[in-house]
């Protein structure tokens, strides 16, 4: 699942995990971990693909979590997506500045130069984890929901050629509104930190940049992956949950489960690991939070950044954020009609 924080990814996880064939745990950060492990496997395989690891050095990307101590060379690779909970596992020695934004991610991802021996090694490190989880869950197919996975999608596809991807989106102003609500004491977790540091005193602009960066990565991965990727919008999911669930399961090649969206909150669900804490108080799928970003002052987003937001939002079929955003009644719909 390729997603950003506050985009409904935990809801989608619940839906996937409710299917009798699918197991979707809380956030593992496996995509990011795969990239981090590339360098270790490269060293131990004697592959000259520091090269490969360097390709994950998204030097303009935000977020934290590079290497603790790059011996002799500047650290490479950092985490685009932190977890949905404030996360203590960032390492302290790397902190990238927020990027310049705009559409990026047109590269092939960090997989392009990863030697086959390293890819095989990575499978040895990660397959046991997946196998163990499937054995515990008694299910057949593993699903991963980790924020920021899009920037590692090239490597993931190389490691697991048969893998499928879900690209999840949500309207930018609703992500911003949800992010601010989830961080009452200051933007923290979800990969927000770098953006907060780059936009002191303006959480709206910080999260607008966050949305642009993450969404651009997801859209670029979607383009690269073609038919291996299914686009899902949060608004579609909450408006027509059963139809969307059926579409998802069909894409994944598993049988539909009529009524599944009405039962997902009553099942026992693993709590170990990050995720949206509000999900535990949720009893049904509702569209109540669609349009919650109507109260967010769009005027706090600098015009060039707002242009980036609207260009991407338009591509995904979302209403643009115009000068009259927030005036009048809250819209019932943030999707472009038709």
């Amino acid at each position: 699942m390729l997603c950003a924080g506050r985009s409904g990814s935990t809801l989608l996880r619940f839906l996937l995990d409710s299917h009798p064939a699918l197991a979707c745990p809380p956030e593992t950060r496996i995509p990011w971990l795969c990239t981090q492990m590339v360098s270790a496997w490269s060293v131990l395989e004697g592959a000259s693909a520091g090269d490969a690891a360097d390709e994950s050095d998204n030097s303009n990307r935000p977020g934290t979590g590079g290497e603790p101590s790059a011996g002799g060379e500047p650290s490479a690779g950092e985490e685009l997506g932190a977890s949905e909970e404030p996360n203590a596992s960032e390492e302290p020695n790397a902190s990238e500045e927020p990027s310049a934004g705009g559409e990026r991610g047109a590269d092939a991802g960090p997989a392009a130069g990863v030697p086959a021996a390293v890819v095989a090694g990575l499978r040895q490190s990660f397959d046991p984890m997946i196998a163990s989880y499937l054995a515990h869950a008694g299910k057949e197919r593993y699903c991963d929901k980790s924020l920021g996975g899009a920037m590692h999608s090239g490597l993931l596809k190389q490691m697991w050629p048969g893998s499928l991807f879900l690209s999840l989106y949500r309207h930018p102003m609703d992500v911003i509104g949800s992010g601010i609500e989830a961080s009452p004491w200051g933007l923290s977790g979800y990969g927000f930190e770098g953006y907060a540091a780059g936009n002191p005193g303006n959480s709206v602009a910080a999260l607008a940049r966050y949305w642009v960066d993450y969404t651009a990565e997801i859209a670029a991965a979607e383009d690269r992956l073609g038919e291996s990727c299914l686009r899902v919008r949060y608004e579609d999911l909450v408006a027509e949950p059963e139809a969307e669930a059926r579409r998802l399961f069909e894409f994944l090649g598993v049988p539909a489960v009529p009524g599944i969206t009405e039962t997902i909150f009553s099942r026992r669900r693993q709590r170990t690991g990050p995720g949206d804490h509000k999900i535990w108080q949720t009893t049904r799928i509702g569209g109540d939070s669609v349009g919650r970003g109507w109260d967010v002052p769009a005027g706090l987003i600098p015009p060039p950044l707002l242009d980036d937001v609207n260009r991407l939002a338009g591509r995904i079929g979302y209403l643009p954020v115009g000068p009259d955003w927030g005036t009048g009644d809250r819209p019932e719909e943030v999707r472009v009609a038709g």
Partner: protein
């Protein structure tokens, strides 16, 4: 090659002593610019030991512990005494996240007192993820025992000890002013790499203070691990190593239970060592072990180090047998030795 279910013993080499094994790796606990690449060369030159360039396995272990805790549905917060841990600390009511798996390395963590125990399934999972790495290295090199030299490993020493209960540790030190001098020389365009970045941010415009704090944090973590591991950890000083390389090499090999190799510190530069991966780039132009760089920090102005920080540095340095950095530092001739005479 062993099976997937028995990867801990991966091959029975041509030597009769024992088979290659993932059971008892060696971890070098060190900071950057402390001579760790030189030590790596010595280890890697031994016919039994394989010590590749920096893998960052300790740090990766910390990261992967979080993922395994999700996969196994066990919380890292729920301390689960591990019978394999020789030094459990079940009374630790306030675990230090700096030494906890999956958490940020806190260089000031006192590993000797605050070890949080990772749940057994997570430890088993980590072995599944990392033993193949070790096995691949040993198989490729034809050696029997894996050594890891990754900067900042001391921050994860507690976890490493839990994952590999038979692991051995080598704690490596260098005089603080020499490390500072070496760090500044290695970063002519600004402190970068080696874990320096965070310290630069704390002391903008003062690289000397930044690296003094770096030395303090890393060294403190190494000392704490050394205390915790007792006889399973061997203390080494860079200055001893370059002063008496053969004797120090023999001491290391004795500690690791492998045969001494007379002359190894003279022949090691001619041997093949893997170049892929981070390490001290100067090593490739080095042809002999030399003490020329001892005392290189004599020109570093100690007045740039804030007094409280300098006091802490001197306290720790004194415990390691190093000369203190006084206000007279840098005046007069460069000292012949930065060690306190025995």
């Amino acid at each position: 090659m062993g099976t997937a279910g028995d990867i801990s013993v991966i091959w029975a080499g041509t030597r009769s002593e024992s088979a290659a094994s993932c059971e008892d790796p060696v971890f070098v606990l060190c900071a950057g610019r402390s001579g760790s690449t030189l030590l790596r060369f010595i280890l890697d030159s031994h016919p039994v030991l394989a010590c590749p360039a920096e893998t960052k396995i300790p740090w990766l272990c910390g990261l992967m512990a979080s993922a395994w805790s999700v996969a196994e549905d066990v919380s890292l917060d729920s301390a689960n005494p591990n019978p394999n841990n020789p030094n459990p600390d079940p009374n630790n009511a306030n675990p230090d996240p700096g030494n906890a798996p999956g958490s940020a390395p806190n260089p000031e963590a006192d590993n000797s007192k605050k070890l949080r125990l990772a749940p057994g399934p997570v430890l088993a999972g980590l072995r599944k993820s990392f033993d193949p790495l070790i096995a691949a290295c040993l198989e490729r090199t034809g050696k029997r025992r894996f050594c890891d030299k990754s900067l900042g490993g001391a921050m994860y020493a507690g976890l490493l000890r839990q994952v590999w209960p038979k692991a051995k540790f080598i704690s490596l030190y260098r005089h603080p002013m020499d490390l500072i001098g070496s760090g500044i020389e290695a970063s002519p365009w600004g402190l970068d790499g080696y874990g320096f970045e965070n310290y630069t941010a704390r002391f903008p415009g003062n690289n000397v203070a930044a690296l003094a704090e770096y030395w303090l944090d890393y060294t403190r973590a190494i000392v704490a691990a050394e205390r915790r591991f007792g006889p399973d950890c061997l203390r080494m000083r860079y200055e001893d190593l370059v002063a008496e390389p053969e004797a120090e090499a023999k001491r290391v090999f004795d500690f690791l239970g492998v045969d001494a190799v007379p002359g190894i510190t003279e022949t090691m530069f001619a041997g093949q060592h893997q170049q892929a991966g981070p390490g001290d780039h100067k090593i490739w132009q080095t042809t002999r072990v030399s003490a020329d760089s001892v005392g290189r920090g004599w020109d570093i102005p100690p007045r740039l180090i804030p007094p409280p920080l300098l006091a802490a540095v001197n306290t720790l340095a004194g415990g390691l047998g190093y000369l203190p950095v006084t206000r007279n530092w840098g005046t007069g001739d460069k000292p012949y030795d930065v060690r306190v005479p025995a």
